[in-house]
């Protein structure tokens, strides 16, 4: 599979990590791929369904406006009361933390809600906790806590990203095996590399933190 260079005993006692990396890469990538695939699959299976909310479509009645060749504007808010401008001027409902009051109420008016609204005009201390919550849910779909609750979407994002990374590594392995030429002799031939490193040491290349810094010039051997 790989073209292994002949490794003779060298005076310079070098470490042929390149070949070990090539073999270890295969095993490491297989492990990596398996773990990432199981992680992402698990996160997708575990992911809950989307929360109710957003543009709710409780009413199916719609009116299409327009004429004279103008595009029809379909108002889908049905019988729901318009209570404001909304974040873009359209009569829609959306839960937004930065624009808290939507254009329309969430639910259509029922007689119970109508009665509660009348009661709401009086002293609020007379309202029970359930009535307050019912009034809230008539106008809004979710509370702020529910809107800002974590969705766990990061697990899917992270899992998908890591799967893509592992696929990329598999592609690299395929390239290395079937596309790239063999490394030239100047890199793989042990005698040539030995001569090159010897020259680096003689010329004192990178003597502070690089190659020649690891050579002990008094003793004539590598430092440990």
């Amino acid at each position: 599979m790989f073209q292994l260079a002949s490794v003779e005993h060298l005076d310079l006692n070098m470490n042929w990590s390149l070949i070990n990396i090539n073999i270890g890469l295969d095993l490491a990538c297989k492990l990596f791929y398996v773990t990432m695939a199981s992680f992402a699959v698990g996160s997708v299976v575990r992911r809950c369904g989307r929360l109710a909310g957003g543009a709710a479509r409780l009413s199916t009645s719609a009116r299409a406006l327009g004429g004279d060749g103008m595009p029809a504007i379909i108002e889908r808010h049905g019988k729901r009361e318009v209570i404001g401008y909304g974040y873009n001027g359209q009569p829609n409902y959306i839960d937004r933390v930065d624009y808290p009051i939507p254009a329309v109420r969430f639910k259509e008016e029922t007689p119970q809600i109508k009665a509660l609204r009348e009661k709401e005009k009086g002293d609020w201390k007379n309202l029970t906790k359930e009535e307050v919550q019912e009034l809230y849910r008539a106008t809004f779909c979710r509370t702020f806590a529910e809107i800002q609750a974590p969705t766990g979407e990061w697990k899917l994002a992270l899992g998908g990203t890591l799967i893509a990374c592992s696929l990329a590594i598999w592609v690299y392995i395929w390239m290395k095996l079937f596309v790239y030429d063999k490394m030239p002799a100047t890199i793989t031939d042990p005698q040539r590399v030995e001569a090159q490193v010897q020259r680096m040491i003689d010329l004192r290349m990178n003597p502070v933190q690089g190659v020649a810094s690891n050579w002990d010039y008094e003793k004539g051997q590598w430092k440990n």
Binding site: R199, D202, L203, R204, P207, V208, Q209, S213
Partner: protein
């Protein structure tokens, strides 16, 4: 209802102040770490190397090994 009244105003300013404080802290920590872990040791190594460095002796050693193209290795 017995919840505390939430903050109603200046939410963006409060968020910006908090973010600025975090930024200042994180950048200071990053720069300090780089200085003490990378820059200072490197400076020390260079100082040690050049303390007793004899450039002429090194040049002669390399010349005698025949590594220069412009200088011959014979005396």
């Amino acid at each position: 209802m017995s919840l505390a009244k939430p903050q109603m105003r200046n939410l963006l300013q409060a968020a910006i102040k908090k973010n600025l404080a975090i930024t200042a802290g994180v950048t200071t920590a990053a720069v300090a770490a780089y200085y003490f872990l990378v820059k200072a040791p490197r400076k020390q190594k260079y100082a040690e190397f050049y303390k007793n460095y004899d450039a002429e002796a090194e040049f002669e050693r390399m010349r005698k090994l025949g590594l220069f193209q412009a200088c011959s290795k014979d005396d």
